[in-house]
């Protein structure tokens, strides 16, 4: 976060390329084609929204990009590595260092304070104990939660929890931020607050953002590109002309 990623990755080579991506699974007798031959490319530094109704396969695509799931066939290439070819151990390292994730239900660990939640990925990454405290503090300050460091998630509002989740997602300085319905559990005011932060990370830090949502209005307001999915298939891919690029200048820096 403190350092800006390499300029060559921003608005240059593709960050994500999925080719004929399929994810099928059986549920009893029926074969469910959650993702069925999706081919898409996301450029480095792009902010892309995956849109679709529930069951359209948008979350499944996101899980495949996140390395949480493996494709039945096809390939997902992120930063020149085919995730389908990585071992479980390598996928874990990929999730740890390359990807930051936020979820609709925040997914903070309830028994840990915010500082401990944010520190957790650094434990897996074996960051020096001495440095971790300062980094966690810095990350929480960035999302405006420095005063809430030692609170547990249950003591916080939804918006605060999602901000903490953002801080955690960014702590290992990933190039890719994946958000699964990040505002789904928030009121519109808090949702806007979170989305502004996501946009700031995209524009200031040059992070590639892929966001899953079913709200077209939200997608049109923040994403540079809208990708539509239905029944596991890609049904639309368009540049978003209405995106307000100047929003940052109006709101000032975080």
């Amino acid at each position: 976060m403190a350092s800006t990623p390499d300029k060559s990755q921003v608005n240059g080579a593709p960050a994500i390329h999925a080719e004929q991506l399929c994810r099928h699974y059986r549920m009893g007798e029926t074969l469910i084609r959650a993702v069925d031959g999706v081919t898409l490319t996301v450029g480095a530094g792009e902010f892309v929204a995956l849109l679709g109704s529930s069951g359209s396969g948008k979350s499944s695509v996101l899980n495949l990009i996140a390395g949480l799931d493996r494709p039945t066939s096809g390939s997902v290439i992120v930063q020149e590595r085919d995730l389908a070819q990585l071992s479980r151990e390598e996928l874990a390292r990929y999730r740890l260092h390359t990807v930051g994730m936020v979820f609709q239900s925040f997914n903070l660990i309830a028994s840990m304070t915010l500082a401990e939640n944010v520190e957790l990925p650094m434990r897996f990454a074996e960051v020096d104990r001495g440095k971790r405290d300062g980094l966690a503090r810095e990350a929480l300050a960035r999302v405006g939660l420095q005063a809430r460091m030692n609170h547990r998630p249950s003591e916080l509002s939804g918006g605060e929890q999602q901000r903490a989740a953002l801080a955690r997602a960014l702590i290992n300085r990933p190039q890719l931020l994946l958000a699964d319905e990040p505002t789904g559990n928030l009121d519109s005011h808090t949702g806007t607050e979170i989305m502004n932060m996501v946009r700031d990370f995209n524009q200031q830090l040059g992070m590639t953002v892929v966001m899953v949502t079913h709200e077209r209005a939200l997608a049109e307001r923040y994403a540079q590109r809208l990708i539509f999915l239905a029944d596991g298939k890609l049904v639309g891919d368009e540049e978003n002309s209405s995106v307000v690029v100047s929003a940052i200048a109006e709101r000032g820096r975080l």
Binding site: L68, R93, L108, I109, M112, R123, F124
Partner: protein, 459 residues
Amino acid sequence: MKLPDLTELAMRNLRESLLRNSLTTIGISVGVASLVAMLSLGIGLQQLASRRLMKSGLFDTVVVTSRRDLRNFNREEERNGPAPGESRILDEPTRQEIERLPNVLEANPDIRFITELRFEDKPHLTTIAALPASGKSNDAFETMPGHFFSSETAPEAILQKTFAEELLGKTPKLGLDETNVKELAAPLLGKELTMRYAQREAAKSSSAGQSLVGAAYSVVSREQKLKIIGVADLDPESMRGPTRARVFLPLKLAESLHVMQPTDLREISRSAGDQPVYSSVNVRVKNPSHIQSVEDAVKKMGFNTFSILDASKSIQQFFKVLDVFLGIFGSLALAVAFIGIVNTLVMAILERRREIGIMKAIGASDSDVKKLFFAEAGAMGILGGVVGVALGWAIGQAINLGTNVYLKSQSFPPEHFWSVPWWLVAFALLFSFLVSLAAGLYPAGRAARLDPVQALRYE
């Protein structure tokens, strides 16, 4: 993930469901405690038995006999060895030769004869044996009323309890408490016994040219006054069987009496002059571990040997078997604890399904998750082990104390039959740790394999 982080997270998780994890840990403690209690009882009993055997004086003793007198225990040797008539005799020079062998402390002739003792004008027939000065360390004389021989040549006698009873005309009644040895000793100590015996007197070789010098000796009837100086409760020769004596004399005194020995008749044609011939010699070695080498050396000289070593081997074997049995019973409780750990951790996986999913989503590898569950199992194991060892030690102390109170009420000396050596503590801790890790094997593997997408799907 690094070890300090693992430990920290594991301890935090254990604290989260404190009651359940405490109960599981207590289960481990009880298992370890029962194991420690059982094994330390086995070890303590074994040490007690060895201490007793050591004090009996037979543990470091080799009995040497001439092949002419006693059959050897080893039939093979008997068949292949020299015929009894040709084998060596056990005389004084031979005794000295044995005494000069390496690792031999002393070699004393075993003087033992049956004769008549008069006490208050009544005759009593019994077996009398001679004791060397080193016999003083025998367990039987430790708490004896009276004292050990004042010198090697003093005309003194120590009685075994049963003989003291005979002298006083008391017969032990079956089923009743045994007569108190102090009461027996009181009227006897300081009293005099008259021993009548047959002395073997070498004939003066007056007639020159006689070829069979040793053959000429006469037997003279003698009397020796003896002062009673002690009454032994325990039998110092309890290992000897039917030939054990009930009255003991100092060795040098017994030698000087030249009492007619059973072997004398047979050695008529061989014994030279005054040199005594012994039916057996008791060899004391420096250390029980030298028994075998001394036995071999003496056998090479052409004598039969016998030691308690063979008997002690079977005793050691018995205790090994006992230890194994006690260990198995002790481990049963630990096996129950093992199942408890598995249960607790499997429950924890169900409860923390989502948490495991989150950890994987933010970058935890399979091995991170596995190690975390191992660390939790291991921490419970170490904690349970420490508490268990303390508990086992306390149980042992309590039983030891209780038994000694009982022994005291029965006027027996206290015994220390409970022993928790440091290696048992280390073993118990390690064992408890390993058992816990083994118990964590299945749950940890299951947690590591958990599919993060599935785990995160449900609230």
